[in-house]
Amino acid sequence: MTDQHKQTILIIEDEAPARIVLADSLSSEGYEVLQSPDGQDGLSMALHAHPDLILTDLKMPNMGGLEMIKELRKDTWGKGAKVIILTNISDLSTLQEAMSEETFFYIIKGDSSMEKVLQSVKTALAK
C-alpha cells in the first residue's frame, strides 16, 4: 500500500445511496473516507479533520456546496484545501462561480461513471 492510499477523502453529498457507494468504492481503493450529508456538517468536519481532498455536491440542505467552499476558504487551512465539485448542475454560470473559488474540477455526476470519479480523485491528490 502506497502513501496515497492512506489519504483522507471527505464526501459531502445529501443523496445517501450515491454517497455510500462512492465511499465504499474509495475505501476499497485504500483511502480513508469521511461522509457528510450537508454543507454545514461537512464544513465543520473538514475544518476538524483536514482531509486531503473534499468531494462536495452543490445543492444540499442547510448549506449548499458553493457557500460551504466560500466559508472553507476563510480558514487558514481551508484556503489551500483541495476540492472537487460533484454535481448535476450543468449550468455554466454556477460552475464558473464555483471554479473561481479555486476548486480543482467539477464532475457532472449523471454523466460520469464512478471509475471517472476515481480517476479525478487520483489526479487531484497527485497534484
Binding site: 443523496e15 457507494v21 465504499d24 468504492s25 448535476n88 448542475i89 449550468d91 455526476k109 449523471g110
Partner: protein
C-alpha cells in the same frame, strides 16, 4: 363589404349616378345631399341607408370579435395604398394609438423586440417577394414597455405583372400560450434535473456491483446488473436530451465557445458510436476532403449534432449496413464546414419528410424499428444549427437510405445571442 362595393358599382353604372355626379361638380358638395335626396327614388334611398348601416354594424362586430380574440387584421396594398388598412386591434397588439392610416412595415419595426427585429424584417422582406401564405412570430414592445408575443398568419398576393399587390393577414396575441409553453418547458427542465440525482445512484450502484468489489456475481446476476447499467445509461441520455431541449427553448443555454481541433472532436465522437455500430456489423466509413481546421464553437453542442446524426444513421441502418461520413470545407473562403452522413437504412417516408425536424415527431417506420427513441434528436440538431447560423437538410428514399447534410460556420456566434441564465 363586398355587397356594399357591388351595389355602389351598380349605382355607378346607372345613368342616374352620372347625373348625380355631374350635378355634384356643378352645384358643389353642400348641395349634393339635397339634390341626391330630391332625385333618388325611395327604394334606392332606403337601400343605401341600409347598406351603410349594415357596413357599420359589420365593422363594429368585427372590431368586437377582434378585441375578444386579441386578434387584428391588416392589409398593405402596394398598388393602391388608399386601400391599405389596419384594424384597431392591430394598433393594440403593437401598443400604438389608433389612427386611420396604417403604418408601413418600416414604421412598425422599431416596435418589434430588438432580438426578434432582424428576423422579422427578413421575413417581411420574404413576404414581399414570395407569393402565398406565410407565418411569423415576434415580440412587440409598446412605447409603454409592455411586451406581447404576436403570431402572424398572412398571404402575399403578387400581381400578374410581378409587382407586389397585397400583403394581408391576421395577427394574434399569443402571449398567454407562450407563457404556458414556457411553464411546461420549465417543468420538464426541473423534472429532468431532479431525475438525474437518483439516476446517478442507480448507475453507480450497478457499476459497483458489476465491478464485484462488493462480492462476486453469478453469470445471471451479472447479466441483470449489466441490463440495469445499460438502462440507466439510456435513461441518462434521454434526460440530458430533454434538458438540452428545455434549455434551448427557454433560451438559457449559454454557448461555451472555445477553440479546438475539429478532427479530434469528430474522431472522439464517432469512436463513442463504434460499439453500437459493431453490434449491428455496420461499417462506418469516415473521410475528410482536405485539411480540417481548428474551429471556435461550442464543443458540447457540436458533439451533440454529430452524435445525433451518426447514431440515427446506425440505428436505422440494416444489419451489416454502411454509414458514410464525409467532412469538407465550403468554397474558397473556407468559412463553413460541411458534414454529410449517408446511410443505406430504412429511409424517411415521403409523407413524413416535412415533419422530421418537429419536436417529438418520429416517422412510423422508425417507431417500428426503434420503439424507444425520443423524437428529440433531429429537433435538437436543427435548433442548435438555427441558433449558430448553420443549416441541416436531407434527401431520403424509403427502403433505400438517407443522407443528411449539415453546415456550420467555423466561428460560431457569441453566447450573448443565445441568451444566458440558469435552469
Amino acid at each position: 363589404m363586398d355587397i356594399f362595393l357591388e351595389t355602389l358599382s351598380s349605382i355607378a353604372h346607372s345613368s342616374a349616378f352620372w347625373q348625380t355626379a355631374i350635378t355634384c361638380l356643378v352645384l358643389g358638395p353642400t348641395a349634393v345631399g339635397v339634390y341626391w335626396y330630391a332625385t333618388t327614388g325611395e327604394r334606392e334611398k332606403s337601400l343605401v341607408v341600409q347598406l351603410a348601416h349594415d357596413r357599420d354594424t359589420a365593422y363594429a362586430k368585427q372590431a368586437e370579435m377582434e378585441q375578444i380574440g386579441q386578434m387584428g387584421s391588416f392589409a398593405w396594398n402596394f398598388i393602391d395604398p388608399a386601400l391599405s388598412y389596419w384594424s384597431k386591434e392591430m394598433f393594440v397588439l403593437f401598443g400604438l394609438v389608433y389612427r386611420s392610416t396604417p403604418p408601413s412595415i418600416n414604421d412598425i419595426l422599431p416596435y418589434i423586440h430588438e432580438k426578434d427585429r432582424t428576423q422579422a424584417a427578413e421575413e417581411w422582406q420574404k413576404a414581399h417577394t414570395v407569393a402565398g401564405k406565410f407565418e411569423m412570430s415576434f415580440r412587440t414592445v409598446a412605447p409603454s414597455g409592455q411586451t406581447r408575443h404576436v403570431h402572424i398568419a398572412g398571404r402575399s398576393i403578387i400581381a400578374p405583372d410581378h409587382r407586389l399587390s397585397v400583403i394581408q393577414g391576421i395577427a394574434r396575441d399569443v402571449t398567454k400560450e407562450m407563457e404556458v409553453d414556457k411553464a411546461k418547458t420549465e417543468f420538464v427542465s426541473l423534472a429532468s434535473h431532479q431525475l438525474k440525482t437518483p439516476l446517478t445512484s442507480v448507475s453507480w450502484l450497478a457499476e459497483m456491483l458489476m465491478s464485484e468489489k462488493a462480492g462476486p456475481l453469478n453469470p445471471k446476476q451479472k447479466e441483470y446488473v449489466g441490463n440495469i447499467e445499460d438502462a440507466s445509461k439510456r435513461m441518462g441520455e434521454m434526460v440530458n436530451e430533454l434538458l438540452s431541449v428545455s434549455r434551448l427553448e427557454l433560451g438559457t443555454l449559454a454557448l461555451h465557445i472555445t477553440e479546438f481541433d475539429l478532427k479530434g472532436l469528430v474522431e472522439n465522437t464517432i469512436a463513442e458510436q463504434r460499439h453500437a455500430a459493431d453490434f449491428k456489423h455496420v461499417v462506418i466509413d469516415l473521410s475528410y476532403e482536405g485539411e480540417m481546421p481548428r474551429i471556435t464553437a461550442d464543443e458540447n453542442l457540436l458533439r451533440m449534432i454529430i452524435q445525433n446524426l451518426v447514431s440515427n444513421a446506425i440505428k436505422y441502418s440494416p444489419h451489416e449496413g454502411k454509414v458514410q461520413i464525409v467532412f469538407s470545407m465550403s468554397g474558397a473562403a473556407k468559412q463553413a464546414v460541411y458534414m454529410k452522413v449517408a446511410d443505406n437504412g430504412i429511409g424517411i417516408p415521403l409523407a413524413e419528410q416535412g415533419q422530421i425536424f418537429e419536436k417529438l415527431h418520429r416517422a412510423e417506420n422508425a417507431q417500428v424499428l426503434v420503439p424507444d427513441g425520443t423524437g428529440l434528436g433531429l429537433y435538437v440538431v436543427k435548433t442548435i444549427l438555427d441558433r449558430v447560423g448553420g443549416a441541416v437538410s436531407f434527401v431520403s428514399k424509403e427502403g433505400v437510405g438517407t443522407t443528411f447534410t449539415v453546415s456550420f460556420p467555423i466561428a460560431w456566434k457569441d453566447a450573448e445571442t443565445i441568451g444566458s441564465g440558469t435552469v
